[in-house]
């Protein structure tokens, strides 16, 4: 039995409404769990309606869904909260890859398969869009994943699993290219696909974030993608063109993300999120399916908004994040000069400073995630509260490696979300704060952003911890942050540096407070 087309479309409408409700309920932590469940229900309805819409050959569908569910659940349950940016990046990439494959399959089906029919102009353009955006998303996301997991574009020695993934995926891409040409036969387009596969495989082996001619190569691959896209619209029966297009777009995806790292990561993760949605929407145009278009545009919009928020929080344009570079300029003061008056103290000295503090603000950064210090930080906050202090957390929008990263870590450690304050909320009250504790953050608390218009981070909104009565900075050393510039906060008269690993520092501090 198959469902009538109008029934299927009604089911898709229900699914789309549920997705919108999902996102709407995401506006508050109280309703968000319900929202997510409703979204999952919508997805189940869309899938059920699809399966009922035509007579099915079940074998491969069951195998595919079972494998996907297995890997999906395993990954989702196993990932630690600190590694959430990598995980989201990876899932993003899978969505992009699915779009490439579906558009490719639709192309094959239209010209060689069951429903042979010349594709409409819309469908042809959409196929090109799916292939390009999907491939950029997939390879770009893989690079983002590899950089977050610290095995791509690095010089240090890799752990065994990192080597397996890095060289394994590189090898698989090259072998895939060779296999494709062997099966499809050598032609101008299959060779382009092969060369692209080799280029991608080779790029993955680079140990530097930048190389000469990189920008020219970006421009060239973008231009070739457009050219191949136009050719494919004119000659859609030429399948090899599609794979050549996907290959060249893949090189572009790798290049676009390759030079981006560190504090710029949240922007890229948000942007790739947006791409994965647009790829899905494009696939919707290929097969004329409204639920794909609606869901894809919702996700596209979400990614664009987040990208925008992240860029604003760094006072940089998207173009500057993607193509520019951040670093010390000739005007940047010498670190030794800036750090002449640095004072450092032990756990006991910090404990004394906190003794009698009535209002404490903790400012977490990526360093807290790296040292997995969120639970220790929660213990510190609880201890200070039990001694009569008010403790709040000030979260900079780009703290961490993805939007909202710090909030998730603190939620994991059972810190109530009402204690998490946004930058604009806490800054006006900073002068009433007795002690501000900065843990693992640097550029987002650098007062230079406010005071020196020539600085690379000039105009970036920061958390004004320097205005608190006392500042304690937990940090391993005086090494610079992502922007590569010294931070005068560390040498300010009201600042005490507390040099240690984040987690150990907080544990020692808790012990010192309990003893004192």
């Amino acid at each position: 039995m198959t469902l009538s087309p109008s029934l299927v479309n009604l089911a898709y409408l229900v699914a789309a409404v549920l997705f919108i409700a999902d996102l709407k309920w995401m506006s508050h932590p109280r309703t968000a769990v319900r929202g997510n469940l409703v979204g999952a229900l919508g997805m189940a309805i869309a899938v059920a309606a699809t399966l009922g819409s035509q007579p099915q050959e079940w074998t491969w569908i069951v195998v595919g869904v079972a494998l996907g569910t297995l890997f999906g659940v395993w990954g989702a349950l196993k990932v630690p909260m600190t590694a959430m940016p990598e995980m989201v990046g990876l899932f993003n990439g899978f969505g992009g890859l699915a779009s490439v494959l579906v558009a490719g399959a639709a192309l094959v089906a239209a010209y060689h398969g069951l429903a042979r029919a010349d594709l409409s102009l819309t469908a042809r353009v959409a196929t090109v869009a799916s292939g390009v955006v999907g491939s950029v998303t997939f390879f770009g996301s893989y690079v983002a994943f590899g950089k977050l997991a610290e095995f791509l574009a690095v010089r240090w020695k890799l752990k065994a699993w990192q080597k397996v993934v890095k060289f394994g995926f590189s090898l698989a891409t090259a072998v895939g290219g060779i296999g494709y040409v062997t099966v499809a036969g050598a032609s101008a387009w299959t060779v382009v696909a092969l060369v692209s596969a080799f280029a991608i495989a080779g790029l993955f082996l680079l140990r530097r974030e930048r190389f000469p001619g990189m920008d020219a190569l970006k421009a060239a691959t973008a231009a070739v993608s457009v050219l191949l896209g136009v050719l494919l619209v004119l000659e859609p029966q030429e399948q090899a063109l599609y794979w050549a297009l996907a290959g060249v777009a893949g090189v572009l995806g790798v290049l676009l993300t390759w030079s981006i790292g560190g504090a710029d990561m949240p922007v890229v993760i948000a942007l790739l999120n947006s791409y994965s949605g647009l790829a899905a929407a494009a696939t919707g145009f290929v097969i004329g399916n409204t639920v794909l278009i609606i869901s894809g545009s919702l996700v596209g919009a979400s990614g664009v908004i987040l990208t925008n928020i992240m860029c604003k929080a760094m006072n940089r344009s998207l173009a500057h994040v993607l193509f520019g570079s951040l670093g010390p300029t000739s005007d940047t003061p010498d670190a030794d000069e800036v750090y002449r008056t640095v004072k450092s103290g032990s756990a006991e000295e910090v404990a004394m400073l906190l003794d009698g503090a009535r209002r404490v603000v903790i400012v977490p950064g990526y360093g807290m995630a790296v040292s997995q210090a969120q639970h220790a930080v929660r213990d510190l906050a609880n201890l200070l509260e039990s001694r009569g202090a008010t403790v709040e957390f000030a979260i900079h929008p780009v703290a961490g490696r993805m939007p909202g990263h710090m909030n998730v870590l603190l939620a994991e450690a059972d810190v109530p979300y009402t204690k998490l304050k946004e930058m604009d909320e806490i800054n006006p009250e900073m002068e009433q704060v007795d002690v501000a504790i900065v843990i693992g953050a640097n550029d987002v608390v650098n007062p230079v952003a406010r005071t020196d218009p020539k600085s690379p981070i000039a105009g970036m909104p920061i958390i004004d911890v320097d205005r608190a009565r006392n500042v304690v900075v937990v940090k391993r050393s005086l090494s610079p942050g992502f922007a590569g510039i010294p931070n005068p906060l560390f040498a300010a008269p009201n600042t005490l540096m507390y040099f240690s690993d984040g987690k150990k520092a907080i544990l020692d501090l808790v012990a010192a407070i309990k003893q004192g």
Binding site: I61, A98, A280, I287, V291, I294
Partner: protein, 92 residues
């Protein structure tokens, strides 16, 4: 389907997306990303249509089946990991 119709849906959905998502607070931006990620796995619908069609070209079917696997990882993994995160926020 008619291009104008598909475009209408596309444009309106983008407006709805902007309206709804601007209201999500920064605290929930990570779950928003992983949740919207799961939604973008809707490509699974397109993959299923091509993977399951009776008598479809073997190459098209193979491509679509691989797409089913990846889109399903995206969907299922996305919803489960979002649920895991949101439960932590709700406890209080």
């Amino acid at each position: 389907m008619d291009l104008a119709l598909l475009l209408t849906v596309f444009v309106l959905a983008i407006f709805v997306g902007f309206e709804v998502i601007t209201k999500v607070p920064p605290t929930l931006h990570t779950p928003l990303m992983s949740g919207s990620n799961a939604i973008s796995g809707i490509t699974v619908v397109g993959a299923l249509l091509l993977a399951g069609a009776m008598g479809e070209d073997p190459l098209a079917r193979t491509l679509a089946t691989v797409a089913v696997v990846f889109a399903t990882i995206n969907v299922v993994g996305g919803y489960v990991v979002t649920h895991r995160m949101l439960r932590m926020f709700k406890r209080k």
